[in-house]
């Protein structure tokens, strides 16, 4: 597309400067940024919260959630445009304001980009907003012509009167349409009539990115702005005891050293000076009770969870597991472990804020602008209406920037200490690696009983892990949110919702609250439990002497969507067809975030432990596929994210603190290690599944099952580097 977007960067740049300048003249709370409305005051007409139309027929569609590379800033507005019947080439997308969302009683609803839910949770109200605006535009044109609205239709940003052939553009009737009462019930299009949904539409943010004009939180530049680097207590939960900043006093560029409860900030006239000076501030920490915790002691703690009799919640109970297992022909038992993982967003955590006259403005890469706003208000002690969260692109999110708003709390606390001056706080990579909210470590005990034909008649899982919901989100583990009281749904994801036809199932959860903070890491529970479930399923197939694909097929006969994607993926991968000598396959299937995924890995393992993945076939059925090329991109990205984690990802603890610090000891996959990924996009329609996270779910077990086929060694613990395996 040689498009408007390619030439758009000039206005985008100006817009950013304008936004930056606005703060120089004082607070601009309520200012809509990026603001088409602000560019031509009075010229654009708001039809509803989502649709704004300019007299020149430019259509502005608002976007409320975040853009971190998942592509929703393009695909969510596509849903509005589909029903609006506007010319997509004239659509501009702008963020909805978090401050306006407070003042307008959440006119834009949930602003969070988490849980792969941007499309699936907002598709209905977005399509209705488009359809409502379209009906109002049609009604306004019909009124002007003095004809019944039923004789008019809309297409490509024009309203046409069927009989007379008269036409009016949206821009010509927008003013009149905005004054009409919105219709209560609008009919949404039949999916077969969709023109935009299902097309590979180019992402709107990419042209700015390739010229270096995309603006992330780290890029905010404000007049008079100072910069802060921080050091946090290396042991989680510890506090500042004392500090001595005399060595940096009077040093060039250093403005202030701010001691706060759990961290110390150095404020300077550029970030490098702040960071360098911080090394010379002598800090004593009160590390609290956790200074002796190690990975080994944590493992003992989790192991205890597998055997305790009390404080165990039952997530699922079908039939009588104990009886069926006791009388089973064959019994299989195994324990699986998945480690703590860091998010490692390439843009480290940060927050720029100004606190002035009882108001707060902040610029931060956030997955949840509403949560950022609330935390900023609480930290500064001001009402919600007095805070604006300016929206920027995120340099990666992966769950790190949603539930935990620690960086906002810190940024605003520093800005409060520097009242009236904007301060940009930025973490080092070392702080980022050592102060994450980690994907929880999890230890799982599995048991299954097979009948004489090898079919599983009894299935048991017990998970010992820290609860993300209870410790980070502070959501009580109660029904109906929890599968059962005391069960974190993410801790047992893919286990308690086992879709296989097994008559006696027991799934238990032993909550183990360690001091290591945990959070939502891309795909969350489905990033680890499918490895357990689908590897164990392979163990059962192997014990039964059955083909692992056919074994799963039989158990999924009554779960058509799981079965459908399993079959489509196996077919694309050529399951059962001969392979070259030394090459082996593994398969897995999992539902996650409303989408059904399956993976087939084809690989060889050499005597040095180098795993050469020749092909990774990755299938997904997301129901409706809104933007197919973007789904392809998410599947490719999910492959890199999961292969990185399963081969190398492991955060270890020593003396209560994280041992890894930067990319030299917390390794990321590089281009040369990227295997060939073939995506099988098989949308079966009728439902809306997520796409940002599900792709990861089936990859680890498919690869580990192929490693078993190749070596005879069952992988029950990740990462693979600890087993002497690496990616060729």
């Amino acid at each position: 597309m040689k498009t408007r977007f390619a030439c758009k960067f000039e206005p985008a740049r100006r817009r950013f400067l304008k936004q930056s300048a606005a703060i120089g003249g004082g607070l601009s709370v309520g200012f809509n940024i990026p603001g088409a409305l602000a560019q031509k005051p009075g010229a654009a007409v708001e039809i509803n919260a989502w649709v704004v139309i300019r007299p020149d027929d430019a259509i502005i569609i608002r976007y409320a959630r975040s853009e971190m590379g998942q592509g929703s800033m393009t695909s969510a507005p596509m849903l509005v445009a589909e029903e609006l019947e506007c010319d997509w080439r004239r659509v501009k997308i702008e963020y909805a304001s978090a401050n306006a969302n407070v003042k307008r009683k959440r006119a834009w609803g949930d602003m969070a980009s988490v849980g792969s839910r941007t499309i699936r949770n907002s598709q209905e109200y977005l399509r209705k907003a488009g359809a409502t605006a379209r009906e109002m535009l049609i009604a306004a044109a019909a009124q002007q012509w003095g004809v019944p609205a039923s004789e008019c239709s809309a297409s490509n940003s024009f309203i046409t009167h069927g009989a007379g052939g008269r036409r009016l553009s949206f821009g010509k009737v927008a003013d009149a349409a905005a004054k009409l009462e919105p219709p209560k019930d609008v009919k949404l299009k039949d999916p077969k009539d969709w023109k935009l949904i299902g097309k590979s539409v180019k992402r709107i943010d990419i042209p700015d990115t390739v010229v270096g004009r995309q603006r992330y939180g780290i890029d905010v530049q404000l007049p008079g702005m100072l910069y802060a680097a921080i050091a946090q207590c290396p042991v989680f939960g510890g506090k500042l005891k004392s500090m001595d900043a005399s060595k940096v006093e009077g040093r060039r560029g250093i403005v202030k050293v701010v001691p706060l409860e759990t961290f110390v900030a150095v404020v300077a006239d550029n970030w490098w000076r702040a960071k360098e000076a911080l090394r010379d501030v002598h800090i004593e920490w009160d590390v609290g009770a956790n200074g002796n915790v190690s990975s080994a002691s944590l493992m003992e703690f989790y192991k205890g969870g597998l055997d305790v009799q009390s404080d165990v919640a039952t997530a699922r109970k079908d039939g009588d597991f104990d009886q069926a297992f006791g009388s089973a022909e064959r019994k299989i038992e195994a324990e699986y472990y998945t480690p703590y993982l860091a998010h490692s967003c390439l843009e480290p955590m940060g927050c720029t804020a100004i606190v002035k006259d009882g108001k707060v403005e902040l610029w931060t890469s956030t997955q949840n602008a509403e949560a950022s706003l609330a935390v900023a208000a609480a930290t500064a002690g001001v009402p919600l209406e007095n805070v604006e969260v300016h929206r920027v692109q995120l340099g990666g999110g992966f769950g790190r920037r949603g539930g935990a708003q620690d960086f906002v709390r810190q940024g605003v606390a520093i800005a409060k200490a520097m009242e009236g001056t904007p301060v940009k706080m930025l973490w080092t990579r070392e702080e980022d690696t050592q102060h994450d909210f980690y994907r929880p470590a999890s230890l799982v005990r599995m048991k299954a009983g097979l009948d004489g034909s090898g079919k599983p008649v009894a299935w048991y899982s017990r998970v010992a892990a820290t609860s993300i919901f209870e410790t980070l989100a502070r959501v009580p583990l109660k029904r109906p949110f929890a599968p059962a009281d005391g069960v974190d749904p993410q801790s047992v994801a893919s286990l308690y919702d086992l879709p296989h036809a097994i008559p006696n199932v027991k799934v238990e959860y032993a909550q183990r609250t360690a001091h290591v903070p945990v959070g939502f890491w891309r795909t969350v529970g489905h990033s680890q439990n499918p490895f357990v479930r689908e590897s164990f399923m392979d163990e059962l197939a192997n014990a039964a002497g059955k083909d692992p694909y056919e074994y799963r097929r039989a158990l999924l006969a009554n779960s058509p969507k799981d079965l459908g994607i399993l079959e489509a993926t196996a077919k694309a991968a050529g399951w059962g067809q001969p392979l070259p000598a030394g090459v082996f396959r593994g398969i897995a299937e999992t539902e996650a975030y409303g989408s059904y995924t399956s993976a087939v890995a084809e690989l060889s393992v050499d005597k040095n432990g180098e795993v050469n993945i020749r092909r990774l076939v990755l299938g997904i059925d997301p129901g409706y596929a809104v933007n197919p090329d973007n789904i392809q991109a998410q599947m490719q990205g999910s492959s890199v994210f999961m292969l990185t984690a399963m081969f190398w990802g492991e955060i270890t603890i020593k003396e209560g603190r994280v041992e890894q610090s930067n990319f030299h000891d917390y390794r990321m996959m590089r281009l040369r290690e990227m295997p060939k990924v073939e995506v099988v996009l098989a949308p079966s329609g009728g439902f809306w599944g997520g796409v940002g996270e599900p792709g990861q779910a089936s990859i680890a077990p498919a690869v580990c099952n192929a490693i078993f086929a190749a070596t005879g060694k069952r992988v029950r613990s990740l990462p693979l580097k600890n087993l002497g395996l690496t990616l060729a």
């Binding site: 971190m68 000076r273 490719q636 990319f663 281009l671």
Partner: protein, 155 residues
């Protein structure tokens, strides 16, 4: 005072000689395309060209760039015309979050300046920047596509 030429413009900066080039660009000259990812030359998000060579500007002291030519992503397009690598990045929808991409693009441009028709192995060796979103397959495709447009046109 240290004299630097950034994207064809001369600047005199009054900073410590050991201050990394990245932070002079970002915090002193307001050139925000090069990004901070690790600070130890691991990730490559800060990649710029120093006299045509790709360098990790987080680990290059500004004194080493004195009187030399620095090219950042902002200076790549010439007279409003995108570089073929930038065009290929748009055509193949390479970026996801995009944070690493100015570094990736600068690394790719440097590779193609030396090697107009890189093999997959050449790309493997030259493209060592980290992309956390996992756009590697598209980076490879886009480099091959850009190489095609750079080759002399056949009659």
């Amino acid at each position: 005072m240290i004299e630097l030429t950034v994207n064809g413009r001369k600047h005199n900066v009054d900073v410590e000689p050991e201050m990394p080039l990245l932070w002079v660009l970002r915090d002193v000259l307001d050139v925000k395309g090069p990004k901070f990812g690790c600070g130890i030359a691991q990730c490559g998000a800060c990649t710029v060209h120093l006299n045509g060579e790709p360098v990790r500007s987080c680990s290059v002291p500004v004194s080493a760039a004195a009187n030399h030519k620095v090219l950042t992503i902002e200076g790549l397009a010439q007279r409003g015309q995108l570089h073929p690598v930038q065009k290929a990045w748009i055509d193949h929808e390479v970026p996801q979050c995009g944070y690493c991409q100015s570094g990736q693009i600068m690394a790719a441009v440097a590779l193609l300046a030396k090697n107009r028709d890189p093999s997959d192995q050449d790309i493997d060796a030259a493209m060592t920047n980290i992309c956390r979103c996992g756009t590697y397959a598209r980076i490879r495709t886009a480099i091959h596509a850009a190489a095609k447009t750079l080759k002399p046109t056949k009659a």
